[in-house]
Symmetry: none
Subunit: 221 residues, 4 copies
DNA sequence: GATGAATGAGATTTCATTCAT
DNA sequence: AATGAATGAAATCTCATTCAT
């Protein structure tokens, strides 16, 4: 059902910021830009190269995006929003933090879901990763929107399971960090370090979830 | 004693590839370049900016480094070597993979040691992280030297403890991945996401080590 | 009629490689470049000087010619082709080597024709002369295209008149060399050494033709 | 005896402007410069390249030659002098224009002698040829010294044989031009166009001399 | 909307020359 | 005499952006 919700949200988002009312050329431009930005980095990509790859005149890019940076933002911003969306949305709709019976159900759902997202948007996520540190506009989006909203929500979930005695006593932020490290460690290895390797996602998800569950279980003396 | 060895190695390396017979201006250039590359990224940094910050004529940069990329490589390459060095060295000197009594001693030593390294070379490590994906020269150094050597050695250590029954049955590469994820997750959070936060490294190292040890302990039914 | 053919050929060539779909500024650039290259030599001419003389921004040059050398080649190459053209063309159209009744008619036509060509393209010919030795691209054009085609055809003509008993017994290449020396000697003196002198071309052509005819006539005992 | 005289002159010249009181490094510099200038042209040769080839520090060149152009002049000037020397000298010593019995003896001697000179100094002659048009200093040497002196002397010789009835009635300058064309045509072909070809100099000299003698003989009706 | 020639500011790089050692 | 680090002016080239068509 979390999935359903995201479906709905995605369609909502798509309407507002993507591919609707885009001309064919505009779509080509975005595609070309994503490809080359991911390949060579934003700063090393020239607008003329994008135009060429998109099969479009140089001027056409600037008809749609005032500047090169505008083009970057128009690519990265909606994906950043989508990253927050599921978390934000549940809050908005008062979905309880207890929608998952067990912490491991939550972990499993979350990991599957984020993995799917990264796989789907791999190049754009790569662009985000590389460009966030160098563009204050993106950083602020990240530090002011994404992190607080997502972080806060996750911390609440963790505190919930901790208070139920399912997780070890420890500052929630540390718990969060370790869970996320384990999950991201897999996603990163899987999508960036060895994307060509033949991965069995379900098996690996199970491993990571077990790793976290045992690693963060309350210590029994 | 692993520390001692690295001390010795570092001094060895330093002699061979760094700061020897560098002119004062050359050192200033490197320092300026490291600062600005870390701050704005390689591609967005102009050589004139480096020259200015270094208090040097622009031509001086090109007397010492044939191209801007040469300058980048001369900064990143030695640090990449140092990253491998400890692992390589122990092999060379036949130090057994069993030099640590317990896996957690090994984890602790390794995490402390790598954290120290990243803290010390934070800007250069940042540059590496950002530039490796875009420079084939660096990628090959990484994929052909660093990864195989380090990866192999680590896998051997893990297999050792696994065969002793200290670690859960699982492909060694998965064990390795999860250990490294947990460690890197901390280092990354600590050094890049929230460097200004007031960290208690020893406490956090203990947490991460415990997380890994419990997470990867053999399951008792 | 050889003239007519070349007219036709020239117009053909002009269509394919010159001044078609050139912008006004592009033509100005070529003109400026020819002037200054001829005056100071390719290597001593700066693109900024060319831009200035052409009344164009420096960037404009590089929009049309990827490099400075490209600009040089785009100037020299078509003229080199035109140098070969008349010889090649006659071959193509099976015009017999006997189209001239007498060797001296051929010499006269050829000398007049080449002189006219050099007079018309003096600056570009000067550029060619100076740059061919230093640019492998041009050398190969010269050694692989121009020389074999022209040389072969001329040798055939000479052999023809020699077999008729109009020319002295001697290796054709030596005959060719001496004829060409005499002709080129005049053209060079006339166009490069003393262009300002008041030349009577017809008279001089007669002199040179007579010189060659007597110099290369079969020796009577 | 013309040869003897030139011997003497050469040694005289050598004393004044060459290789005497040159340090070993200075000689290396000159050699390197000649090589590279001949190979790539003066303007495209960098002083650092010369220094490298000469095995000398960059500064050393400027200790001996105030500027790069000074270096060029110090290479070209003495050879230009040597080109004039034989002609000038004979005048000075009142050697009669009639030192040769026949015009063809003169041609033969002159052609042999100049060919030998060009063969010996081929790279420097190449440099001269290419640089004279672009350096006023060299041009003036050429137009004011070399040409008038040599030209005047040659014209006198030609007039002499003409007045004896050995040469056709014609402006002496035209006679001179044609003789020189024929001679230079060979030297140029032999030394620049096809230096690698296996030339039989004596045979070719005979051919050229005969060509000139017949070409310029008085016409008998 | 689309084009692509034109721009000019600025990036990288070269290089003759100087100067302290 | 010799060195080679340093310089700064200038050269080649790049590129985001504008604008007339």
């Amino acid at each position: 059902m979390a999935e359903e919700m995201e479906q709905w949200l995605s369609s909502l988002l798509r309407l507002t910021d993507e591919e609707e009312k885009m001309t064919e050329k505009q779509i080509k431009i975005i595609q070309a830009a994503v490809d080359i930005f991911a390949d060579k980095g934003y700063a090393s990509t020239s607008t003329s190269e994008i135009a060429q790859r998109a099969g479009v005149a140089e001027g056409t890019i600037f008809r749609h995006y005032k500047t090169k940076k505008d083009l970057l933002l128009s690519i990265v911003a909606p994906v950043m929003s989508k990253l927050v969306a599921p978390f934000v949305l549940r809050d908005l709709h008062q979905v309880l933090d207890t929608e998952y019976e067990q912490f491991e159900d939550f972990l499993r759902a979350m990991m599957r879901n984020r993995l799917e997202f990264v796989v789907k948007h791999a190049p754009i996520v790569k662009i985000m990763l590389h460009e966030i540190p160098f563009h204050p506009e993106l950083q602020s989006q990240f530090k002011e929107q994404l992190f607080p909203q997502v972080g806060e929500r996750l911390k609440r979930i963790i505190t919930h399971f901790q208070s139920r005695g399912d997780l070890i006593e420890m500052p929630p932020f540390a718990l969060l960090r370790m869970s996320v490290s384990a999950i991201m460690g897999y996603i990163f290895t899987r999508c960036y370090l060895f994307p060509e390797h033949d991965w069995n996602d379900e098996e690996e998800i199970e491993r990571v979830v077990n790793f976290i569950m045992h690693g963060l279980a309350p210590r029994k003396e």
